[in-house]
């Protein structure tokens, strides 16, 4: 499949959007994850709460994903 310049820039943009979101999520989850493990070690019945907090930052990568799709749509890639 041949991609023109617009398509190529859109593909790079989509990649950056996902990568940025994923890095942000990872950075946030590292702190929350370690705190969550500490909480579970002290109070094992709090695992549900810890898990819920852990997934909160995943919103960032989801936004990155949505932006990537919009960019790819605009670039005619999908």
């Amino acid at each position: 499949m041949a991609i023109d310049l617009n398509g190529a820039i859109a593909a790079i943009g989509a990649g950056v959007a996902i990568a940025g979101g994923a890095m942000g999520t990872g950075m946030a989850q590292s702190g929350i994850g370690s705190a969550g493990i500490g909480l579970i070690a002290e109070k094992p019945n709090q695992i549900g709460i810890a898990l819920l907090f852990l997934v909160l930052p995943e919103t960032l990568v989801i936004f990155g994903f949505v932006i990537a799709i919009l960019v790819m749509l605009a670039g005619g890639l999908i």
Binding site: N45, I47, G48, I49, L51, L52, V55, L56, E58, T59, I62, F63, F65, V66, I69, L73, I78
Partner: protein, 632 residues
């Protein structure tokens, strides 16, 4: 549907002499959650009977614990029908239950035999180790010589002998070959000498030769101890067989009697919640409003009308307990709500929305018949092996519903472990990868609807609490959400004419300003009007990721017999392993994200939580059924 049971606080005034009848009836009815009255009266005392019950419970519980070890713990016979028995009769019956005493006696005898077997085992080891040495072990307790015994290898024996020789220690080393390459070694040395340094360098296992069981020649001692051990084992077997018999004949009866005792204990302890005068007592508590009449009529029967019931107002900061009534197959959702935070009795109960939306979100994210069926199988298996009152069991029950939904969405999208079987079923299905825009729009629409619903619930709650500014702010938020959606739908997707789209955009901005002005601290949440509905696009994100990974696995690793049997088996293993991995990831994310969308994006619009569970004064019987209730 969106409300928990309405509760009424009641105060019961009755005579002290009717205490047993009233408490028994309240307990049987299981309709009142007791609270200590704020009236300036004396507290009810627990009394001696509670101590008597506690003592007997400990005694019966101990016997049950012993007998349980001698039966199949999973076995549970039908509950025993029991009639109410006066406490004195119950205690008397248990006091004369001779099998309880016998259980304790046998248990103690077994413990003694176990201890004896342990000592005999250790003595047998020493006697066997030294069996090849011809010495009377009584002479090992000498005033002139010291003795030490060890287990060691041939190499260690040689080192021991040579070291003793090199150091000129006056000692004799007697070795006896045991089984294999090990030796039992007896070292006799002068009482004034020391072989500790020598032994330290060799580090053999030392044997205790001071045990009183060791007398006579080692070989004879070994034979005698072996006989004693056999006798010990025989006696233990007899006692264990007797315990098995006792368990088979008495365990169910004892479990039923213990349950009756526990019920009596609850009744006895309840007295501490009452307020009393010289001849009367006051009981307060919360009752479901629809059961107040039943409570009144049952108490009238139990006391021959000698009681008064009045409805009272709750205290200023007092919250009524929360009681939800849902079909039993939906109880796991209540469990999960309780696990996170129970709805308060004065707010909207959003569990039904959670019940409806969870399977939809989960099903959409998995959207595969194969993964759905595998989820169903796994969740069913988990429910078989876990405790019905535990988190795992309840999560698995919720998961079952989600798995069924995943199968339905799998059929719609024509996905079977990532394969599309169009020719087989004659149905094209909706292809995720070719319908990205539509599915994105649908998932965000889910978000708009659920977030909108959350805001409406928030308005209702604010109205109940007479927070007028919040009502205005939240209403404006709703207008912002709806008009903003229409404006974007019109402008971006061309679904509306340009004029009305602009009008909607202006309305959205105006409503947003109202939200900010009236919202106070809540105004900081306005950005969530955009981010929360958008957050629902994760349904598409995770769903598509799962489907694309599954189809990539199919493309790369579908086993082909034509490539040869070895390659076929290798590819089959990789194929199954990767699908399993993808399935586990999808399932985990599906559950967590579907729960999260409800709890974070939806509930934060209105939900306070922190409700207190309604705990009726009563007992959940396991081993007995109330025969009096069935007679009635």
């Amino acid at each position: 549907m969106l409300r928990t049971e309405r509760m009424q606080k009641v105060r019961l005034l009755c005579l002290k002499k009717d205490r047993r009848a009233v408490v028994h009836e309240l307990h049987r009815l299981g309709a009142i959650d007791l609270r200590r009255s704020g009236l300036q009266l004396s507290d009810g005392s627990v009394g001696d009977e509670v101590q008597q019950i506690s003592d007997m419970l400990i005694r019966v519980g101990g016997a049950i614990d012993v007998l349980r070890a001698y039966t199949d713990v999973k076995r549970r016979s039908q509950p025993t029908p029991v009639k109410h028995m006066a406490l004195g009769t119950l205690l008397e019956r248990l006091g004369s239950y001779s099998q309880i005493g016998e259980t304790y006696q046998i248990s103690a005898a077994l413990k003694e035999l176990d201890d004896q077997a342990e000592i005999l085992g250790a003595a047998a080891r020493v006697a066997n180790a030294l069996a090849g040495i011809d010495i009377d072990m009584a002479s090992l307790r000498s005033d002139v010589l010291s003795f030490k015994a060890f287990e060691m290898s041939a190499d260690q024996v040689e080192r021991l002998k040579s070291t003793i020789g090199e150091r000129g220690i006056s000692a004799e080393v007697l070795a006896s070959r045991m089984n294999g390459k090990e030796f039992g070694v007896l070292v006799a040395y002068d009482k004034k000498a020391s072989i500790d340094d020598v032994i330290k360098g060799i580090a053999p296992r030392e044997l205790d030769i001071t045990m009183k069981e060791l007398h006579g020649k080692p070989k004879e001692a070994a034979a005698r101890i072996a006989r004693e051990l056999a006798e010990n084992a025989k006696r233990r077997k007899e006692l264990q067989a007797r315990l098995r018999n006792l368990a088979a004949e008495n365990l169910d009866k004892l479990l039923a009697l213990r349950e009756m005792l526990e019920i009596e204990l609850e009744k006895g302890n309840a007295s501490s919640e009452f307020k009393v005068t010289e001849s009367a007592m006051v009981i307060e508590g919360w009752v479901p409003r629809k059961r107040t009449e039943e409570l009144e009529s049952r108490l009238a029967l139990a006391t021959s009308g000698r009681f008064e019931m009045e409805y009272i107002e709750a205290g200023e900061d007092e919250l009524a307990p929360t009681l939800v009534n849902r079909p039993s197959f939906l109880k796991p959702f209540d469990y999960l709500m309780e696990f996170l935070s129970l709805p308060r009795s004065d707010e909207i109960d959003p569990t039904w929305i959670f019940i409806i939306s969870f399977p939809i979100f989960y099903g959409l994210m998995i959207s595969d018949v194969g993964y759905g069926l595998a989820s169903l199988l796994l969740s069913w298996y988990i429910t078989r092996i876990t405790d019905p009152d535990g988190l795992m069991y309840n999560t698995a029950k919720i998961w079952e519903l989600g798995a069924m939904s995943a199968v339905v969405f799998g059929v719609i999208t024509n996905e079977y472990f990532g394969f599309q079987v169009t020719q087989l079923i004659g149905f094209q299905g909706i292809d995720w990868t070719k319908s990205i825009t539509s599915i994105l729009a649908i998932t965000v629409l889910f978000g708009i609807v659920q977030v909108g619903l959350g805001i409406i619930f928030g308005i209702v709650n604010a109205r109940r609490e007479r927070e007028n500014k919040l009502v205005v702010s939240r209403s404006a938020s709703l207008v912002t959400l709806v008009s903003g959606t229409l404006a974007i739908a019109g402008g971006f997707f061309g679904l509306m004419p340009a004029g009305p789209s602009i009008d909607m955009a202006v309305l959205a901005v105006a409503a947003l300003l109202v939200t900010i002005i009236f919202g106070g601290r809540e105004a900081t949440e306005v950005t969530n009007l955009i981010t929360h509905p958008l957050s629902y696009s994760r349904i598409m994100g995770f769903g598509m990721a799962s489907i694309i990974i599954a189809s990539l696995i199919d493309k790369a690793f579908t086993p082909n017999w034509a490539a040869g049997p070895l390659l076929f088996i290798g590819f089959l293993i990789i194929f199954i392993a990767l699908h399993f991995l993808n399935m586990i990831l999808s399932i985990f994310e599906g559950i967590v994200q579907a729960v999260r969308l409800n709890f974070v994006e939806f509930f934060t619009k209105f939900y306070k939580g922190g409700g207190i569970k309604f705990r009726p004064f009563g007992y959940r019987r396991v081993y007995t059924v109330d025969a009096d209730a069935s007679d009635a």
